[in-house]
């Protein structure tokens, strides 16, 4: 028993090594019992060998082994909720995990930069791996990470989460809780998040994951939907007409050679420009971040799930 508890502490220590500040910020994981770990850890390592994801001794591995571990779905270093509210959320996530074999998590941090200084998505991946989140051999799960300093959030899916939570689905899901977070209504936002995630899981299990209704393909499943021939012909005609109009207007412009002169460059004295003052003053800096599409599951047009090289899919922004 002591040995297993020691293993759990080692796991948390690894997380702390990745981010010393996080050691203090992430609440300790409550573990009531720990089972056998080795077999689960080997699967986890083999699956993520390409990303150098080291197998970790975890509460999840223990739970999978003997089914007696109390999993944690809500991590909070800020203290947004009361103990009763946390318990309610834990119970709901546990019920979802039991019904769908899928983890729905919430992680609240002071500042995601303690895990990755560049992006909240990278930080989410580090946290997901460090806490060994996910259910089953596929480590399927969905994690909502909130970084309170700059009010950044990231929805991070793994395993079956790519099927159940497409890019479109994650955006729809985000709309549900962002309405509450806007007014700092954290508990209501987390509950809406769990409810909506459960509904999306139900739809995905029924074979109809929530995806962009206007996409040419049905997202992650990879099945091509039938295109409306009328719409295709109409679209093609429109493109053809635009191209033809441009070509015809170019040809027509050759018939017009009379126009009023707007400049007098021909009459400017060559090399005659005298530059009395030349002032270049720095004003400000703007930054634009565009996600790099590394892989698109289903290969569709606008639908499906974009998966990063780390094997996660994300939807992030500000709340």
């Amino acid at each position: 028993m002591k040995l297993r508890l020691l293993s759990l502490l080692l796991s948390l220590a690894l997380l702390a090594c990745l981010s010393p500040a996080a050691l203090a910020s992430v609440e300790s994981v409550t573990v009531t019992q720990v089972g056998e770990l080795e077999e689960e850890a080997e699967v986890w390592a083999a699956e993520d060998a390409d990303t150098a994801w080291e197998p970790e001794v975890s509460d999840w591995a223990a739970e999978e082994a003997d089914g007696t571990v109390q999993a944690v779905y809500y991590y909070d270093s800020v203290g947004l909720l009361t103990a009763q509210q946390r318990a309610e959320l834990e119970a709901h996530s546990a019920a979802i995990a039991e019904r769908y074999g899928f983890g729905v998590y919430v992680v609240v941090l002071e500042d995601y930069r303690t895990y990755d200084r560049w992006s909240v998505e990278n930080a989410a991946e580090v946290v997901y791996r460090s806490l060994d989140l996910g259910v089953g051999t596929a480590r399927s799960g969905l994690m909502l990470l909130l970084s309170m300093d700059d009010r950044d959030y990231d929805l991070c899916a793994y395993g079956y989460g790519h099927t159940a939570f497409t890019d479109y689905g994650k955006n729809q899901l985000a709309r549900v809780f962002l309405d509450d977070f806007r007014y700092d209504d954290w508990f209501e936002g987390f509950r809406d998040y769990q409810d909506e995630a459960e509904e999306m899981l139900r739809l995905a299990n029924a074979g109809s994951p929530v995806d962009d209704p206007y996409a040419g393909y049905n997202g992650y499943s990879g099945t091509r939907s039938q295109r409306d021939p009328g719409a295709v012909i109409g679209f093609s005609l429109l493109i053809g007409c635009v191209v033809a109009l441009i070509a015809c207007m170019v040809m027509r412009s050759k018939s017009r050679s009379v126009k009023s002169a707007r400049s007098a460059g021909t009459y400017a004295i060559p090399e005659g420009l005298y530059l009395a003052e030349s002032l270049d003053r720095f004003s400000h800096v703007t930054e634009q971040r565009v996600r790099i599409e590394t892989e698109r599951s289903g290969g569709g047009h606008g639908g499906g799930t974009s998966i990063s090289s780390g094997g996660f899919s994300h939807s992030s922004g500000k709340f």
């Binding site: 050759k254 009023s260 004295i269 420009l273 009395a276 003052e277 004003s283």
Partner: protein, 375 residues
């Protein structure tokens, strides 16, 4: 009644015309050629006599009118009855055949419709009205016809009947009066510029854009910006046949005019100056903009440019005007008499336009549909 000035061949007394190709005055009959300076010297007494005659006639007409009024006759009815038609007209005698020539008051050079002799109207280029410069014709009537034929080529939407049935109704070589404005544009232009740098951060492409406020001030001199000074010639046509090569500009002489038409200016320099100022302003902004370098994007934010006014000159520039009519509509083409640049809008065959449109649009739509439906 004053006589118009008639340039006669010293050898056979036939009419002379200025030939752009040779740069000399040539006799229509015997083909003799004479330098401009020689004919100028010979014609000077005749020109002076014609101008004096013209001035005497002006004075005589005003005296007669005053005397008529002094005798108690009410001449207001007469003047109003003739006014509409006689206003802006002048009458001259052709020294060759004696015919009376009715010309517009701005006409400076013409030809007699009865005997065909080339004639210069006296008084139009005298005193302050005398142009400073003249750019002689280099290209002749045939060159203008050739240029028009070339102008038709490659115009996909030109109605076939326009080209086939089209007959040029009139070709006129005209010395068009221009004001040439010189000055220096001065001012300041303000721009915004950006520089961007991209780097990869995790799964994101992060583009950092630096924004700059840019200001440029300076001056740029301009020499002889031309503005059409005749209200009868469309300004856009004259703008479009630019530029003229000022290296061939000569001090004004009527000896370059025989064989061509000419008008004196009827739009004063003050009215034309604004157009020249606007053009200089645009060019100045463009020149200042060209000094802004090292940025990925440059957007103009504003400018304040003014033209320090300099010399204004009155010049006669050579233009061939070609008129044609098709389906009841007049088409005017103008050719630079020095460089041969010809401009003029052409009609568009609507049927051919839409047929071409369909010939492009339908195959593209068909191929695109097939690709989208089959792949």
């Amino acid at each position: 009644m004053p006589s118009i000035i008639h340039y006669k061949c010293p050898a056979c007394t036939g009419p002379l015309h200025y030939a752009g190709a040779s740069g000399m005055l040539e006799c229509d009959y015997c083909g003799s050629r004479f330098p401009v300076a020689e004919i100028e010297a010979q014609q000077k007494p005749a020109e002076q006599a014609a101008q004096e005659s013209f001035q005497q006639q002006q004075e005589q007409q005003s005296q007669e009118a005053a005397q008529f009024a002094a005798e108690g006759w009410d001449a207001s009815g007469l003047s109003s009855a003739w006014g509409a038609e006689a206003e802006g007209m002048r009458v001259y005698n052709c020294p060759s055949c004696g015919a009376e020539l009715f010309c517009e008051e701005t006409t400076a050079a013409t030809s007699c419709p009865y005997c065909g002799n080339n004639a210069i109207v006296p008084g139009q280029f005298a005193g302050t009205l005398k142009p400073d410069l003249i750019l002689p014709f280099k290209l002749d009537r045939e060159a203008a016809k050739d240029a028009l034929r070339r102008h038709y080529r490659g115009k996909h939407f030109l109605p076939k009947s326009f080209e086939d049935q089209n007959h040029i109704e009139q070709i006129r070589g005209i010395y068009v009066p221009f004001w040439l404005f010189s000055g220096t544009a001065e001012g300041t232009a303000v721009f915004s510029g950006t520089r961007s740098f991209s780097r990869r951060q995790g799964n994101y492409r992060v583009t950092t854009t630096e924004h700059y406020d840019i200001q440029r001030s300076g001056s740029l001199p301009f020499d002889k910006v031309p503005v059409d000074a005749s209200s009868k010639i469309p300004d856009e046509h004259m703008d479009s046949i630019e530029p003229f090569d000022y290296a061939d500009l000569r001090p004004f002489s009527t000896a370059y005019m025989p064989g061509y038409l000419a008008d004196k200016y009827d739009v004063p320099a003050e009215q034309c100056a604004r157009h020249a100022e606007e053009r200089c302003e645009q060019t100045m902004v463009h020149a200042l903009s060209a000094t802004v370098q090292g940025y990925e994007t440059v957007s103009p934010l504003g400018h304040q440019i003014s033209l320090r006014r300099g010399l204004v000159q009155y010049a006669m520039l050579p233009v061939w005007l070609l008129n044609t009519k098709w389906e009841g509509k007049d088409y005017l083409f103008a050719m630079n008499g020095q460089t041969g640049k010809l401009v003029g809008d052409l009609p568009v065959d609507r049927k051919r336009f839409w047929a071409t449109f369909a010939a492009i649009a339908l195959p593209i739509a068909a191929v695109l549909s097939a690709v989208m439906l089959l792949m």
